[in-house]
Structures are given as structure tokens and as C-alpha cells.
């Protein structure tokens, strides 16, 4: 058990309920605990693995996803979950986000989306709303906020959901489904940051979130649903494509190449390609 005071988050941080949810999801997963690996980047959210009893690779800012891809490719037998913040997964790691989805691997991407760079003290993240000001942007955010859910759907993710740290039971079922889904799954989790985000607070979200009963009919409907933000924010599984097949992977670990492979190599022709 991790003592609450060992946790480096601010009191009241939205990451606490998410951690609780994750702890109980992992405990109840039909997978032995030692077969689950979390990867994470750097940020407040990315500290998550330290506060769970789990294998983890806490890597670099923005790089939770390629680590997860490498682990999954190497070890299809492991349940692989990438955990990070919005800055990490969509900002610094944006290229990995779009291309990891394209790889059709059975991994789960979870984001604590607090619409801010928490650990570095409150700068705009890719999901920060328009006109929000902070110490690096005294004029107010000029950029179009990135919608992670729409982006994931557009890139072809077969399971795309939104959760809210203030709805623990709901979040738990969404995360559980995401992990059990056979294919790339995203859960973007609305996570109030009590220290730096004075706009998108628990109250702000509570007034807006509502649960969708079932995923949208098709991608275009899902995109419409995903776009809703200012007054009503749908949470739940917004898109799910059960017909999508994830990539077949072979077992590598514990195997070894044979002499034939080496001989094949010796006979391989040189190629006209560097």
C-alpha cells in the first residue's frame, strides 16, 4: 500500500480519485498483477505508476506511447497501459499519439487531462481553452484547443472514451472496458487541477458532464458527440468498433534464432538501399 502522504500531488487533485479507480480496476482485472505494465511520461499525471503496485517504465516527457509500443511488440502476453498528462500525450508526444493509433496494437492509453501543464506550474497545454491566460501567455491562449477524442477517432482508434475524475464508478467501468477491449483504446479523463486550472474545476465539469448510454452509431456521429464542450460534455464510450482487428503479434521472448537464420543472413544479397 502506498501511503497517501508519499504521493506528490496537491491535496484535492483530481488524480487521487483516478488513482483509486485504477487501483481497483487493476486488482479486479482477469490478468495476474505481474503481467500488467504501465508506462508513463513526465508530469503530475505521469507519476501515477509510482502510486500503484505494478510493473512500470516511467520514461520521458511525451514518450509514454513508444515505450508502450515497444513493450507490447516484445511481449504480446503483457497487458500494456500508457498513462500520462495532456501535455505529455498530446503536446510533446503528439506524433506518437497519432501514429501509435495507426499501429493497431492492443494497448490502452489513459490521459489525465487537466487542460494545463501542471508540474511546470500552469502553462497552456494543447487542450487549454481559448483565451486562458497564464505566466507564459499573458495575452491569453490563441490556439485552437485540441480535442483528443476527435483526434483519436479520426486516426482510426477503435475504442475512444472520455471519463471524469469526479465520477469514480463510471470512470472505473470505462477504464475497465478500455483495458479489456482488444485494440487501441483511449480514455481521456477530465481531471481537475486545483492548483493551476481555476476554470475547468470540479464544479465546472459537474455542471456539464453527462453520461452517454452507448457509443455513437458511426464515426461521424461520434465526432459530433465529441465536439460538444462548452455547455454539455458527454462522458462514456463515445466510439467503439468491435469489428476492428488488432495486429497479430508473434512470441519472441524466450525464443532464439537458429543457425538457419544466421545462414539465411550469410546468403542474403546486398541491397540497393541504404
Amino acid at each position: 500500500m502506498i501511503a497517501r502522504k508519499e504521493i506528490a500531488w496537491c491535496p484535492g487533485c483530481g488524480n487521487f480519485p483516478i488513482r483509486d479507480v485504477l487501483e481497483s480496476v487493476l486488482k479486479e482485472l482477469p490478468v495476474p498483477a505481474n503481467k500488467v505494465v504501465l508506462t508513463s511520461g513526465i508530469g503530475q499525471a505521469a507519476k501515477m505508476p509510482h502510486y500503484l503496485e505494478v510493473n512500470y517504465f516511467n520514461g520521458l516527457h511525451g514518450r509514454a506511447l513508444p515505450l508502450a509500443v515497444g513493450i507490447k511488440l516484445a511481449r504480446p502476453d503483457l497487458t500494456v497501459i500508457a498513462y500520462s498528462g495532456d501535455g505529455c500525450n498530446y503536446g510533446e508526444g503528439g506524433n506518437h499519439f497519432i501514429h501509435t493509433i495507426r499501429r493497431r496494437l492492443d494497448i490502452t492509453i489513459l490521459t489525465s487531462n487537466n487542460q494545463v501543464y501542471g508540474l511546470t506550474k500552469g502553462q497552456s497545454s494543447p487542450t487549454t481553452d481559448r483565451e486562458v491566460k497564464n505566466l507564459l501567455d499573458p495575452q491569453g491562449n490563441e490556439n485552437i484547443p485540441l480535442n483528443p477524442v476527435s483526434l483519436a477517432i479520426t486516426m482510426g482508434a477503435p475504442f475512444v472514451a472520455r471519463g471524469f475524475a469526479g465520477e469514480k464508478d463510471h470512470l472505473k467501468s470505462v477504464i475497465r472496458e478500455a483495458i479489456l477491449f482488444k485494440g487501441t483504446a483511449l480514455v481521456d479523463i477530465l481531471q481537475p487541477c486545483v492548483s493551476f486550472n481555476r476554470i475547468n474545476t470540479y464544479g465546472w465539469y459537474r455542471e456539464r458532464v453527462y453520461k452517454v448510454d452507448k457509443p455513437a452509431e458511426n464515426r461521424y456521429e461520434a465526432l459530433k458527440l465529441a465536439d460538444a464542450w462548452n455547455t454539455k460534455i458527454p462522458i462514456g464510450v463515445l466510439f467503439q468498433d468491435d469489428s476492428a482487428r488488432s495486429r497479430e503479434l508473434k512470441t519472441l521472448c524466450g525464443k532464439s534464432i537458429t543457425k538457419e537464420a544466421v545462414e539465411q543472413m550469410v546468403c542474403t544479397k546486398c541491397v540497393m538501399m541504404r
Binding site: 516511467n58 511488440l73 516484445a74 511481449r75 501514429h99 519472441l252 542474403t268 546486398c270 541504404r274
Partner: protein, 542 residues
């Protein structure tokens, strides 16, 4: 006895195929040869040329002597290279090639047959008996096309112009990248991630070809940042892992390298150098990234850098690097260049038959990834193998892999990581010396220059000054023990490098206090030739 041929033309005209097919056949026929190329960063057009040196003794460099034969597929080749023909040399003009193309079209229904015909013509010139082919299994070339080439050789009086005996004891030929890929597989490599970049791409090709039906995986990443992080993920998960790239791609891997250092995750990084800065000359050669690799990644952690000087060293060191990376739990680098990557040579040395593998102990739940030990090394485990949880962290961490800000623990962790370099000392790859054992002058070199320097030193032997060559295939760490046997004190030291600033000479100074008396540097994107180098050396020696 030797015969050097240059085949030149526009990219896409087929010279590349001629070189490939010729080297394929030469090796099958047990000829000693050395082949390399000079090509532009474009797919069609421009001016490329391919050089093949065929000999009765092993050859591993461009001689730099006038060509015995120049085959000009276009007028530019005639213009640039005809003047470099030896007095008795054979020139095949674009007109003659056209003639052959004409026959190819008529007889074989297409101009591409010309490539094989040219191969036949060259083989005829070195006196290869035409009936030899029937006896060799798996010769892919079309025998009719080859015969047509022999015919032309006879018609133009070239057949048997310079008879060369096939004296190679083996039929093994590789290019540098292939030797590296083979070495990696022998080292137990099962995972590679990469993003195409000249001159490293074919390493990925060789691995992905093997991956088709063996327990090996190659993943093409969206960028080099992803590639290095994927490889670290795979290494953490249990597989010996590899990335390969060139300077610009390696620039993007820097943070990942530092991550490997901090998390103590074994990783092999091949950097195939090309001339920089930035995009530079993508298809040419240089040794300009030694310092860049030596200091890659922020912060401090141990590393080793190998710079193979031959195909055999490439294979052996690639294999060994996996052992060392696992043993030292740190990133290990292999520094090559376009010249080595793109040169095809016979390899007479034996290929190790044993594949070395990573071994894991078995651990219970008390396992700590970063246990403090006297050697600095903590036992490596992989997730899911036992009750052990494997926790690795890019922040400073405690023994369990949990983030820490305990500053005295920080000090111990820094010392733990640095202590691991003791392991590297045990694994030192000694430099190799050739030439006069009681030399007055020592020509120091590293990486792909080895066999060029050795031949140049052989060539100037007996010229009055006793000269030896000392080649470093481990360029870092450098220790006094590595140079002690060669007794450099009081000798004149000349260094040879393919860069503009003498990076290795600087490193020798910093690490071993050795001062170089003269530096021979070349940085136009081409390798040294034996002739060029021996001439410069002679100047310094007289």
C-alpha cells in the same frame, strides 16, 4: 595481380545492379575483391560510379591507382574518369555500351539484360572460364546474358586481358551493414526499431528480412524519437534491442540515450556516419560524429563506443556489444560510416556459430531493480517472469525504482552508475598494431580507415622510416593499458581521420595525454585511397 574496374553513369542506369551482380558472382567464384560506390542523393540521373577491385590477395580498400577498366554508361563518366585510366587500361565507351544494349534488346527483349552482360564482360576480362558457372549452385544471373557478355569481351579482345586466380578460401561476402546485422543477430538481438536514414537503412532491411520467419521483430517508427523509445521498451520487456541511424536521426535519439543511461536499460545504437552538419551529403562518408556520440545524452553515465575497422570487426563487435550492454546495463554505441556500410568485401574469418543470449535470474517480490551493490550492477529482471515487479524510472530513484529527492541517495546512485564502467574495463577491446614492430612512426587511426591505413603503411614499408599502424576499434573508453604494449613514448605519431577537426586526436589527448604530431584529415565526403594516403605519409616521413 589485380584488376580495378569503374562503372559509371546516371543513377538508374544499372551500375548499381552491375556491382551487386558482379560481387555476388565474384564471391561465389572465390575471387578476392573489394567493391564500393560513390553515389548521389537522388534516385535517377546525376553521376554515380561503382568501383570493384579484384585481386589474387585479399583487398580491402581502393588502391587509388589508375583504373584497369572504365565502363562509361554516359558521357560524364567518360569526361570524369577516362583520364584516370592506366596506360594499358580498357575503356568501354558509351557507344560500346549502346551496342551491347542493342543486342540485349534484340536477343533478350530488354535493355536491363545489359547489366548481366557487363558482368560477363568483366569476368571474361579477368580470365574467368565461361564454363565455371554451370558448376555453381544458385547463380541467379541469367547464363545467356552472361555468355553474351563473354562474347562481347572476345569480340573486343578483352577476354583474359588480365587473368586473375580465384584464391579466396570462402565465398562469404558482406557489405558493412550486413556484417553488423549478422553480428547483432549473433549477439541475440531480437528487436529493432528504426526510421529510414542513409546510410543505416539497410541494417533495418537485413533485420526485417530475417524477422519474416524467425523470432525477431523490426518496427518502422514514426520518427527516431519513437524508435529509440520503442527499443528501450522492448529491452525492458526482455529482448535485446537495437536501433541504427545516422547523425540527424541520432540527434533526435539523444534524450532516449540519456534515458537508457538513467534507467540502466541495455541498448545498442549503431550510428552510421555521413558528412554533416544537418543534412550535409547524405550518401557520402565522414567520421565527424565521434564527439557527438561520445557525449550524447544529457547527464553523466558510462558508455562504450566501438568503431569497427573491417567486416569481421563489425560482426564481432556488433555481437559483443549486446553482451557488454547487458553486462553494464548501459547504452553501447557502434560507430560506422557510409564507406564501411557501402563497401562489399570478402570475409575470410570464421563466423561464430554460438548465439549469445540474455539470461535472467528468477526473483521474488523483494526484487529491487536498482539494488545497490559493490559493482554498481543490480540484477536485471523482466516483467511478468516471476513475482518481481520491475520498476524503472527516468527521475533519480531509490533502489526500488521509485522517484526520490533524497540527495544523499542521489550521490550513491550517481556513484553506482559510474562504477559500472569497471565492467567496461574488463571487456576492453585492444587496439591492433600492424607494420614494423620497432617503428619510429606510428599512424594512429580508428573505425573504417583501418584497412586503408594498413595497406598504405605496407606500401611505404622499406622507405627508410620504420612505420606501424595502430588502429582503435574501441574508441571509448580509452585506458593507458590499451596503449602500454605499443610503447608510444618518443615516437612520432601521425593520426588519420575522415573529419575536419581531428576528433580522435583530441580524445587521445584528453584521455591519455597523447599528443599527435601530425594530423591527416580528409573531409570532402570520400574515403582515402591507399595511394593518396601513402603519398601524404611519405611526405611526412621524408
Amino acid at each position: 595481380m589485380e584488376w580495378s574496374v569503374l562503372v559509371g553513369g546516371e543513377a538508374g542506369q544499372g551500375m548499381f545492379s552491375v556491382e551487386l551482380e558482379l560481387s555476388e558472382l565474384l564471391s561465389k567464384l572465390h575471387y578476392h575483391f573489394f567493391a564500393t560506390k560513390n553515389y548521389m542523393s537522388r534516385i535517377r540521373g546525376g553521376h554515380n560510379f561503382h568501383m570493384v577491385r579484384i585481386a589474387e590477395d585479399p583487398v580491402h580498400a581502393l588502391s587509388g591507382e589508375p583504373w584497369n577498366m572504365v565502363i562509361a554508361l554516359d558521357s560524364e563518366t567518360e569526361q570524369y574518369h577516362k583520364t584516370d585510366l592506366s596506360a594499358s587500361g580498357v575503356f568501354l565507351s558509351p557507344g560500346q555500351v549502346k551496342e551491347m544494349e542493342q543486342v540485349a534488346r534484340e536477343r533478350f527483349g530488354g535493355v536491363t539484360a545489359t547489366n548481366t552482360m557487363l558482368v560477363g564482360l568483366i569476368l571474361a576480362a579477368i580470365g574467368c572460364p565461361q564454363d565455371k558457372f554451370s558448376g555453381i549452385a544458385g547463380i541467379a544471373s541469367n547464363p545467356d546474358h552472361l555468355s553474351a557478355g563473354f562474347e562481347f569481351a572476345r569480340r573486343w579482345g578483352l577476354a583474359g586481358r588480365c587473368p586473375i586466380e580465384p584464391k579466396a578460401p570462402t565465398h562469404c561476402k558482406f557489405d558493412g551493414n550486413q556484417a553488423l546485422a549478422l553480428g547483432a543477430l549473433l549477439g541475440g538481438c531480437q528487436f529493432m526499431a528504426g526510421y529510414p536514414m542513409t546510410p543505416a537503412t539497410s541494417i533495418m532491411h537485413y533485420i526485417s528480412t530475417v524477422a519474416l520467419d524467425h523470432p525477431v521483430h523490426f518496427e518502422q517508427a514514426e520518427d527516431e524519437i519513437s524508435a529509440v523509445n520503442m527499443a528501450l521498451g522492448a529491452s525492458y520487456a526482455g529482448l535485446r534491442s537495437l536501433v541504427a541511424t545516422s547523425g540527424g536521426g541520432f540527434a533526435l535519439m539523444q534524450e532516449g540515450i540519456s534515458l537508457a543511461g538513467m534507467t540502466e536499460t541495455p541498448l545498442i545504437v549503431i550510428v552510421a556516419q555521413r558528412p554533416g552538419p544537418a543534412t550535409g551529403l547524405p550518401t557520402r562518408t565522414e567520421q565527424g560524429d565521434l564527439n557527438f556520440v561520445l557525449h550524447a545524452g544529457h547527464g553523466e553515465f558510462p558508455r562504450a563506443i566501438y568503431a569497427p575497422g573491417s567486416l569481421h570487426e563489425a560482426m564481432i563487435l556488433a555481437r559483443k556489444s549486446f553482451h557488454v550492454a547487458d553486462g553494464c546495463q548501459t547504452p553501447i554505441f557502434i560507430l560506422t560510416d557510409q564507406y564501411l556500410a557501402d563497401s562489399v568485401q570478402m570475409m575470410v574469418e570464421e563466423i561464430p556459430s554460438e548465439i549469445i543470449r540474455r539470461e535472467y535470474g528468477s526473483f521474488d517480490s523483494s526484487y529491487s531493480r536498482y539494488r545497490l551493490t559493490a559493482s554498481g550492477l543490480s540484477p536485471l529482471a523482466c516483467p511478468g517472469a516471476g513475482d518481481a515487479l520491475v520498476r524503472v524510472d527516468s527521475d533519480e530513484h531509490d533502489e526500488e525504482g521509485k522517484i526520490t529527492e533524497d540527495l544523499s541517495l542521489r550521490t550513491r546512485m550517481v556513484e553506482k552508475r559510474m562504477k559500472k564502467s569497471d565492467f567496461l574495463k574488463k571487456e576492453t577491446v585492444m587496439p591492433t598494431f600492424t607494420g614494423d614492430p620497432v617503428s619510429d612512426v606510428i599512424v594512429i587511426n580508428w573505425g573504417s580507415n583501418k584497412l586503408i591505413v594498413e595497406e598504405a603503411v605496407r606500401r611505404i614499408a622499406g622507405g627508410g622510416v620504420r612505420t606501424g599502424a595502430l588502429h582503435f576499434s574501441q574508441v571509448y573508453p580509452l585506458t593507458q593499458d590499451m596503449v602500454k604494449p605499443f610503447n608510444l613514448k618518443g615516437k612520432r605519431i601521425i593520426s588519420v581521420e575522415n573529419n575536419a577537426t581531428g576528433q580522435f586526436a583530441g580524445l587521445l589527448k584528453r584521455e591519455l595525454g597523447i599528443s599527435v604530431d601530425h594530423q591527416i584529415l580528409k573531409y570532402n565526403g570520400e574515403c582515402f585511397t591507399v595511394k593518396e594516403l601513402s603519398q601524404i605519409l611519405r611526405k611526412y616521413l621524408s
